[in-house]
Subunit: 999 residues, 2 copies
């Protein structure tokens, strides 16, 4: 199906090598050079990379059809090609709205956050001591969301508005103890929101009723309605007073969830004040480019009572070991958002980078600035509405903020055509109606151009006028309209009910009132950045996360206007550049995985899982096998797997692992057989979450297929496979691809990500559709994201990566990923117990160090080693996944031998430090490990009564004297934070106290 | 003359304010907001900004003709406009060469250095303890230059190749004790180099003889030839063996200076090995965009004996107070490059940012990579030369590296036309010859296209062929040519004499052999950056330097391809965008200064001075007043003033200042009268270098004019004038404008800068010309820069600044600059003695704090306060200029009240610390000031025997616990460094020792 887009595999310079360009990419992407590779092979005890592969990857699975990506394209050329492709996008002036508008990204934010590896290469802030910068910024995001929505608790972003609506519904479902089954959705919500809610409802058997909120009959469904969803302002622009409806819903035991718009809330009474329990929406218009649909950060806020059940990551305020305030991810221990098979949400990677941008937008503009922006948009909208009336059309929205729906004198299609002629997109609502949404980028000239589109005479009139050119009726003068309406800066427009006027303050915290000059803003961004360890400082060896190079050449196109400034719902012919890029990427992804078709819609790995399982379910249904509802999942699986399975409506049955970490085939067969009539699928991570290529993988797939199940492969570990084997050839029917791992999308400090799925042809017809833009056929499941191609604007990153690497580069990267891991394994196994290697004593692309022995020997835990690593300037490996009290190390191919050695040296030195405790030379409860990390401030105290010196704490290796990344706080107290949950910026009083103290 | 480009003053949105865009710039550029301004006025004791102006700026000089810049254009709009203008540039494929080629800027360097405020906003590293990052990078630059040129000492960049040639000549002049007067220049040097040398020679009465080096008769000029200049390879591409010529020159007592090309030297025997005393050139092709001529870093290397006389800044290796190695600017105390009236050079601001880029390019590619690049270019050039022969033309250059000159079968103009048709620029050498220079960006396809231009049949042939289309003769196949020539990667081309093959190694230092993956490169850049205090961290209150905001919107266009990728010598019609921008900028600069014409050629303030004085001289000559050669300069003048005067051939006569810092008018009149027949000019800085608007400025101008002199105004302090007064109205005839101060070009850690001059109409005909691109008329002086419009690609910064500020913004900025300075003055004068205020007790935009009293009272010097400020996270103010043992503070308008307060708090706290010494509570030779700065490492030593605590050293103010920028080394020992001058990276052994120690 995809094979035809063979355009990806163009052949360049297949001629005399002297002509070949030198700006080749694989040697820049891959850390070790040829000579290091040889040295490392020697250490590992293999003669070559190929021997290493032979000893790690089972022959039985090795690749059958070599990938056909073509040779790697050099860096300069790849950008030229992509620019050429991008230039096929037509950047029209869009007034489509529907949750996406143009925005003016402050350039200081664009350059210093979105285009800055110090911000975009960070991981999710699981290690708070080296992440205080973005934790503070995400807390600003939460505070801003609370302020605007009028609700007390907000999380640090969700994937998009559509999935946020789904999450809201699931909270209602949980609150109704899963016994209430109806969710009422007002018809004036965005169509893609309604569609996403419906998709989400299916797995849980929830009945979504769409209708007119004013007419909904709660009484008829007494006790069955878990909640309602309203939108404020509505998709067609109306600002409605929901107060009595909210009361009715509450009286009938239904929770109220409200989709809303932060900017509108600068002028309007917030949902929290009219009784909504949950409010959510898209924060995109706070300075985040449209990007043809994403990535953007959805916001999500709830009432106090709901805070402990909120999906997604929640930043909280706690204190460090010295009692200083410190931020951190709250409620982690309670599995805040992923509760395995009991889950109602599986969200993991979210949209941290974009949440940070939106937060910084609020920091830069401040309350006055935001209000001015909102008011100006409203003023212009009022002038527009009046102008349209003067032109003889009918405005259907009496009350509005930024969107008006116009009933035309003639067919809407005529106007859409005239608009396109003028390079303008409007939204066609029905045969006679057009909606228009204004935004902060609209100039007076733009407004004139837009209004002039509505001055287009009908075809009929033009014909009668006998004009060769299109005919226009006389235009009103904008200034006169404003004057007539009495709109001035002092007496602004107000085209919404007086009782819906916002009276409460927002953004009152000093952080939103201090950094309004560019200089101050830059310093604030730069100060926060300096507290966070990113890939620009050191390796981040997080197992299962694949923190590899996010190359600048890959990143540059993301902010090109041709990709950044396109609304997701423009006519397809305006997005030809995107379509070429997307199709080429689909081709490349299917080449490396062996799948027949790809869906680029899911916005994260977890979303990919969910999508894949839903596709399996739809397929089974189409085969008349709707009874199949059991999903076999190994105990070792990532928490998102069972959560996704539960969300897709499957019943999770756990499969054991052998002692050595391998899947227990006997148990698998037994469970498969036991549930043979109900077996729907299995979810297998490969190489396993233990970092080993299991020999038995094909057999496992065979067993599941034998009993009528489908094989879902979790592709988080694909970095070990590319070019060496293919999920589809191994036996998977579907697999997600975390583009933010193997395919170089930067992790952004906790998102964005992308989790496309690949499927075999029998599943292809069921790939997700979209209500606004056609992405799939008749049999498609509903959308899993608000935008048709998820976060389209970051897909050039993966496109460029695969283009620049080519077949050889991709394969070499995988080999070196294996080598790097095994090199570290060999160095470290002399000092630590390594769990789970294969028969040759080798791992795949990652391996696990067992810290449990130290509990007995020295009362040292994995967390102590993790925190001590901060003192060595490193991020910790993945802690306690998949096995409690272990560290999982994944170096990726991008790390050089020098960096691997630096990290191994640190680990070995730490082993000595543990030994000192084991041997009683240091006390068990007061040593460099238990007290780690050591920020400067703690080391400079007058009194020093530790059993080790300041220098031993700070400089355990001499290189650290020259180059050291410092943690900014001491060990953070999680228990305190969870007990006293504070999830917005500390109150001004606290701040003022500090200020008085001169802080 | 300029007034016609009134396009600058376009009027936007002069309508109802509700329509006005909100992304206005002045409030982002100016630190304090309205409410802060009022508070600060209160503190200063004025009711309003206007009253402040009235009390600081003498009424006699206040502006007569209000500026006509128009209203400020919002940020988004200004970028749209500039994009529109830029799009008028045609980016052709250029093979023009002449010292400028295309280059592939590694994107990791582009994004993380050139587009990173952490690198571009830094000041010259005068404070080494907070500048170790770029000092290391500049040392890398020097090392790389030494390696390639084969000479032992190199400086940290000069302004461009043309002025470097001038500097080389001046070193010969000095070496010849100013007694030898002839400088021989080979005719095969670039024409702009020859022209710049000639310009430079005039001021010193040096005779430049241009001829064929093979024929030059030293004997005929025995004892008179100070030096020679050769180019290697020559401008037309020949690689010549100069060995015997060098010997002859040396035998005749002449020094040998050699213009060269770093990339060529990767293959060719370096100048140092064939005896050159000095080698210099342009490092642009090491990854620095063409930018229509600049900015680029010229390199300059000399023999050991000459190192102490080298112009420009020299980075050296010394040690800090703890004995750790530390980099710093060497030989500062000996007035390394500016010796006032004895000077042969006036260079001050250089090209640090671009030198850093070039150095990083070498770090990224390493010796092998650079060699491959050079060899590939050479291979392609060889194929090209052969192809051209096959097409029936004659190649005139037997030996070449990257440039060949071709004698055509027909008129060169025909081919130039055909090339342009194909979007290609070549260099026309004479009526029948074309030269072509290849570079690393040339692909096989490009080579084909280029060769095809040479396959154009002559007009005659085409006519005879009767073809309607242009006719082409059959093309040879590139692969076949390569095969025929036997060029392969293993047996590369070598079209230069075997004895000129490079045999010596280069880039052997580990720094050039460690960071070849993008990840390693990024971390190296980021590590160096983390050691340097830039405007992204804190204010840099350097008096006389105007470290204001360099806004992102101003910076973005610099790296647009439409501005970045244009060769300086393209036909003017390809640079229409540039011309519009340049003319609009000239208009705006003449509006704010009152001058009739502007020259955008000088690349720095000092160059502007020199140019202005040379223009004055040419004018006087035109009036038959060549006898006028005295230049009156106040004692307080910046060192560049007398240096420039000397270089322009003037005799410097010093004018006294009164005790209060004002110019001594009595002395001025006396000196003017005394020299009335010889009085050529005076140079006055205004407001004075003491930071005061002298009431008598007009009178001073009148006196000089009365005695027949011209008034040169040093515009370094223009930030106090804009919108309030105009140099031309005050009485200046000429004035330079440091665009890197008042007009927002970032300082780049020591450049780039730009120093255009404005002149009154009588001087306009004499503004500098250019030998390749016409910039001026018949009477023009020679060029002062290699490129016609200096560093054209950074001019959009100043353009955008003036556009966005508009008349009101510019004026407001100046007022706030005055307010900020006076606010600080009022806070600090309670604690420090402030030198030189006006009668109202007020300063202009900067003021001086006197540290001399502390010498007696506590044995504390200005430098101790400066270094102690580092402990508070601040850059020091300007030290000991214009008065020894003082600190001059200039906050600029961009600093917020909060930042000013933070700085004042620090200064006040330091005053307390001084008091502790004064009162004997702390010893005189061992206190927080004398021991400052305190890097972390020094604070963590086991033993602490200082009379103050670690915390007192590190956290003298509580805010520092939350946010502190740390110095990376202790106080640097200048004397040690100057005595043991090491100006390239420490040898590998030293490095290996460290490595063994695990550093
Ligand atoms: C094995 C595995 N599966 C699934 C996921 C979830 O992916 P995402 O965070 O993109 O939702 C992860 C994330 O770390 C993972 O490691
Ligand atoms: C008063 C004064 N004149 C001239 C100059 C020289 O300018 P530039 O460094 O651009 O050559 C300076 C530089 O600081 C200065 O302060
Ligand atoms: O470079 C300066 O002298 O300011």
């Amino acid at each position: 199906i995809i094979g035809k887009h063979a355009g990806f595999a163009t052949i360049t310079n297949a001629s005399t090598p002297v002509f070949e360009p030198l700006d080749t990419f694989p040697r820049r992407h891959i850390g070790p050079d040829e000579s290091d590779i040889q040295k490392m092979c020697d250490s590992v005890g293999v003669s070559s990379l190929d021997e290493l592969v032979q000893k790690t990857v089972p022959a039985s699975i090795s690749i059958q059809n070599q990938t056909k990506l073509g040779p790697g394209v050099p860096e300069t050329e790849v950008l030229e090609r992509l620019k050429h492709i991008a230039s096929k996008n037509k950047v029209f002036r869009s007034y489509i709205g529907m949750g996406y508008t143009n925005t003016l990204t402050p350039k200081v934010i664009l350059r210093n956050i979105m285009e800055n590896p110090g911000w975009y290469t960070q991981y999710t802030p699981y290690q708070p001591e080296i992440s205080q910068g973005r934790l503070e910024s995400l807390l600003n995001f939460q505070t801003m969301v609370c302020d605007f929505t009028g609700l007390p608790v907000a999380n640090a972003s969700l994937l998009d508005e559509g999935t946020a609506a789904g999450e809201a519904m699931m909270m209602c479902f949980a609150a109704g103890k899963r016994r209430k089954t109806i969710f009422f959705v007002d018809q004036a919500c965005h169509p893609q929101t309604i569609a996403c809610v419906k998709t989400r409802a299916e797995g849980f058997g929830i009945q979504v009723v769409v209708g007119d909120y004013e007419k909904y009959d709660f009484a008829a469904n007494k006790g069955k309605v878990m909640g309602v969803l309203i939108q404020y302002p509505t998709t067609d622009g109306r600002v409605l007073d929901y107060e009595s409806f909210v009361k009715k819903a509450h009286d009938n035991g239904a929770m109220v969830t409200c989709a809303t718009d932060l900017l509108a809330l600068a002028l309007l009474k917030p949902p929290g004040e009219f009784g909504a329990d949950i409010a959510f929406g898209n924060s995109q218009r706070f300075g985040v480019p449209l990007g043809y649909g994403g990535p953007h950060a959805a916001f999500f806020a709830v009432k106090e009572e709901l805070k402990r059940n909120m999906p997604g990551r929640l930043i909280g305020v706690s204190k460090d070991v010295n009692g200083n305030p410190a931020y951190r991810l709250a409620l982690q221990t309670r599995e805040q958002h992923i509760r395995r098979e009991k889950a109602t949400s599986n969200i993991c990677t979210a949209q941290a980078l974009l949440a940070n941008m939106a937060a910084m937008y609020a920091v830069y503009h401040g309350p006055e600035g935001i209000k001015q922006i909102a008011q100006r948009i409203h003023n212009l909208t009022a002038v527009f509405a009046e102008g349209v009336k003067k032109l003889g059309h009918t405005v259907k929205t009496d009350n509005f903020f930024d969107t008006v729906t116009v009933e035309l004198k003639y067919d809407a299609e005529e106007l859409v055509l005239a608009a396109a002629e003028a390079g303008i997109n409007v939204r066609q609502v029905d045969a006679r109606s057009i909606a228009v949404t204004l935004d902060e980028s609209v100039s007076k000239e733009d407004l004139y151009d837009l209004l002039r589109v509505f001055a287009t005479a009908s075809f009929e009139e033009s014909y009668r006028a006998g004009s060769r050119k299109q005919y226009f009726v006389p235009m009103p003068i904008l200034d006169s309209i404003a004057q007539e309406l009495g709109i001035t800066t002092a007496t602004p427009a107000q085209n919404f009910p007086a009782n819906l006027t916002r009276t409460s303050a927002y953004l009152t915290h000093p952080v939103f009132n201090s950094y309004h000059s560019e200089t101050e803003m830059l310093r604030y961004i730069s100060h926060l950045q300096s507290k966070d360890l990113s890939l620009a400082e050191a390796m981040i060896p997080l197992g299962s996360c694949t923190m590899k190079l996010n190359a600048t050449t890959e990143m540059i196109p993301v902010t090109w206007p041709e990709f950044a400034n396109i609304h997701p719902f423009v006519p397809l012919d305006q997005a030809s550049g995107y379509r070429i890029m997307l199709q080429e990427l689909e081709y490349a992804l299917s080449e490396v995985t062996g799948f027949d078709q790809i869906s680029l819609q899911p916005n994260s790995g977890a979303q990919g899982e969910y999508t894949g399982l839903r596709v399996i379910k739809a397929y089974l249904q189409s085969q008349g096998q709707q009874n199949r509802d059991v999903c076999l999942i190994p105990v070792s699986a990532h928490g998102t797997n069972p959560a996704s399975a539960a969300m897709a409506g499957f019943q999770v049955v756990t499969v054991k692992c052998e002692e050595n970490g391998n899947l227990d085939l006997v148990d698998l067969r037994a469970k498969a057989e036991k549930h043979k009539d109900r077996l729907a699928a299995t979810m297998i991570t490969y190489p396993s979450t233990y970092g080993v290529f299991e020999e038995t993988i094909k057999e496992a797939c065979r067993i599941v297929h034998e009993f009528g199940g489908q094989v879902y492969m979790d592709g988080a570990n694909l970095n070990a496979q590319l070019g060496l084997c293919k999920p589809a050839e191994i036996g998977a029917d579907v697999c997600h691809l975390n583009l933010h791992k193997t395919f170089c999308i930067p992790h952004g400090g906790g998102g964005p990500g992308m989790g496309p799925i690949g499927v075999k042809s029998h599943l292809a017809p069921f790939l997700p559709g979209h209500p606004v833009v056609k992405t799939s056929g008749e049999l498609a499941i509903g959308p899993v994201s608000a935008a048709p191609w998820g976060s389209a604007s970051i897909l050039p990153i993966s496109w460029a990566y695969l283009k620049m690497m080519g077949d050889e580069g991709v394969k070499q990267a995988t080999k070196v990923a294996l080598l790097n891991a095994n090199y570290m394994l060999k160095r470290l196994e002399k000092h630590y117990k390594v769990l789970y290697t294969n028969d040759n004593g080798l791992c795949a692309h990652e391996f696990i160090i067992d810290c449990r022995p130290f509990d007995g020997s020295a009362h040292i835990q994995a967390i102590d080693i993790a925190k001590r690593l901060h003192d060595y300037g490193f991020h910790s490996p993945t802690m306690s996944f998949p096995v409690a009290n272990t560290l999982m190390i994944e170096p990726t191919e991008s790390e050089s031998k020098a960096e691997l050695d630096r990290f191994c040296d640190a680990m070995i030195q730490i082993r000595q430090e543990i030994r000192a405790v084991e041997e009683g030379r240091q006390p068990r409860d007061n040593n460099v490990l238990t007290n780690a990390p050591h920020p400067v401030e703690h080391l400079l105290t007058e009194k020093w009564d530790r059993p080790y010196s300041r220098e031993e704490a700070a400089y355990p290796m001499p290189g650290l004297r020259k180059k050291k990344f410092w943690p900014s706080v001491g060990r953070v107290d999680d228990t305190h934070g969870d007990r006293n949950l504070i999830c917005s910026c500390p109150p001004i009083e606290a701040y003022e106290q500090s200020a008085e103290a001169g802080i």
